[in-house]
Assembly symmetry: C2
């Protein structure tokens, strides 16, 4: 442990708070737009977007969950909803009988396409608009390594199931 009474200076606090607030506000605004435009929640949209980007239009459940930072059980629920709506299809993986492969359908792609313009509009007007071109670059350059770092850092108790404290 670094200090006995660790503290953040104003600049650090400012960066932290601004980050959280900006993300919250953006998410909130986007959520509304998606609801109106296609009756999608943010998670659902993220899932469709990821699937749409994937080479084969499909991903494993676990990878999706990790990708969008969601619980496994929550993903099961959402995948169920999306499937019921005909936007994705679930099928067991051929090579690994345990895993389930989720694939976006044509209807899913269609809906994605329908919702995307408005989504981009919101992101542009809220996040991008107040930033100059090189500032957007700077932001990406700043946050991308942080993301890598966070992805690499184990969640602070990387114990394999069973075992409450990873002592």
């Amino acid at each position: 442990m670094p200090d006995s009474s660790p503290s953040l200076d104003p600049v650090q606090l400012g960066a932290y708070f601004a980050l959280i607030e900006v993300a919250s506000l953006l998410r909130h605004a986007v959520e509304q737009q998606l609801r109106e435009a296609g009756d999608l929640s943010y998670v659902q949209f993220q899932l469709l977007a990821r699937l749409g980007d994937a080479p084969a239009g499909s991903h494993r459940m676990t990878d999706l969950a990790d990708g969008v930072v969601y619980s496994r059980s929550g993903l099961t629920y959402q995948a169920g909803l999306l499937e019921k709506a005909g936007l994705v299809v679930r099928a067991p993986s051929p090579d690994d009988e345990r895993s389930v492969t989720v694939t976006i359908t044509d209807a899913g792609r269609a809906l994605l396409g329908k919702v995307l313009p408005g989504h981009i509009e919101v992101v542009s007007s809220l996040l991008l608009e107040p930033l100059a071109r090189d500032q957007v670059e700077a932001l990406a350059a700043l946050l991308t390594p942080v993301r890598e770092h966070m992805r690499a850092t184990p969640p602070r108790s990387a114990a394999s199931r069973r075992r409450k404290d990873g002592a």
Copy 2:
């Protein structure tokens, strides 16, 4: 509408995705720490933190809700929990009979103090650690204006209750 087929270039997308992911991952990690350290959810912590920072240790419900980007009804629920736990007190405002003033208690401050070091630890190790001093400054300088912009921009249908579309 600006374009018929608006799109974001890779840099813009990178900034957007990195922002969302970083915020999600950070929130998730912080949430765990808070749960373990003091059985607090992130919202609850944010509320206590805001109250702790306030001059009189108190705020109106609405201001709190807006501050942490939360629904009114959700805040009512959380305030109820915090009050039941003895961490805050609610009382009608003297000057405006409708509003409710939430005030942090000594127990609330104590819990805040107990949880804070670990919280800072997590934020430092995940968000701040991979950034150099001037990068943290740059990040704050980038995101603060964006926050202002978002706070100033009305939520895209600023209709006074009743009226579904703010035509």
